[in-house]
């Protein structure tokens, strides 16, 4: 199934990459705040979060329920919605793993950045299918500034 593009401000993409580089070789994670409209979705701001998987941060990330509530509160305060999550795959492709799929929620956009040898590279977004069996790619369209969805 082809999805409508996820519009991401360039600054947000730069911040996601910077976060992935900062935490390399461990996984970074954070919340995507934005607006979800009729067939369109835009990422306007981020909430970088701590990876709570202290035991295995190279290949796992976790955002606790408390951190989810924190991100939802941040979104409400900015009059935005919590539209998804980002995380990095150190030295691995920007594609969801089986573990990602098993733990994913529908509706959210999952942005993954590949960080190879400490350099941020491919970035892709994915949405879980309704039946949980697979992800659909969600093309990322970058914009310099504007919020397209008012």
């Amino acid at each position: 199934m082809s999805r409508a593009p996820l519009t991401v401000r360039e600054e947000m993409l730069r911040r996601i990459h910077a976060h992935g580089i900062e935490t390399y070789p461990y996984e970074c994670c954070g919340a995507l705040l934005g607006r979800d409209g009729d067939g369109s979705r835009e990422v306007i701001d981020l909430v970088p979060l701590a990876n709570r998987r202290d035991d295995s941060p190279r290949n796992r990330f976790e955002v606790t329920a408390d951190d989810v509530r924190l991100a939802e509160k941040a979104a409400r305060e900015k009059r935005l919605e919590l539209v998804g999550w980002y995380h990095s795959h150190p030295d691995a492709p920007a594609r969801p793993s089986e573990y990602d799929r098993d733990h994913a929620w529908p509706w959210y956009s999952y942005v993954i950045v590949s960080v190879q040898n400490g350099v941020a590279g491919d970035t892709a977004s994915w949405r879980l299918q309704d039946d949980r069996t697979a992800y659909d790619p969600e093309p990322i369209e970058t914009v310099e500034h504007p919020a397209r969805i008012q």
Partner: protein, 97 residues
């Protein structure tokens, strides 16, 4: 007795786009069972194949995590609010695509 279940944003599409649903229940288990009977598509997102709540599904009764109460046997009374709060997990290895 009637309790309110708050539906998290990612699951609202499977619950008639409602932010909350009122169900009749005396325990959390009964409430979630009533909820998934009413909205069958919610079931696969809340419960694993063995029937247990998925590990990243967190349930609160009036802001108390049921893991620290009596889990899904936690009693509820009229007017209580049950919140379903996601936690988010993932990571690399074993590409799914």
């Amino acid at each position: 007795m009637a309790v309110k279940v708050i539906i998290p944003t990612p699951l609202r599409a499977y619950a008639g786009k409602q932010e909350s649903v009122e169900v009749q229940a005396a325990t959390v288990a009964e409430a979630l069972s009533a909820l998934t009977t009413k909205f069958a598509d919610l079931k696969k997102h809340l419960f694993a194949e063995d029937g247990r709540l998925r590990s990243f599904v967190n349930v609160y009764v009036n802001d108390e995590d049921i893991r620290y109460l009596q889990k899904d046997q936690t009693s509820v009374k009229a007017g209580d609010t049950i919140s379903i709060i996601p936690s988010i997990a993932g990571g690399l290895r074993h590409a799914a695509l």
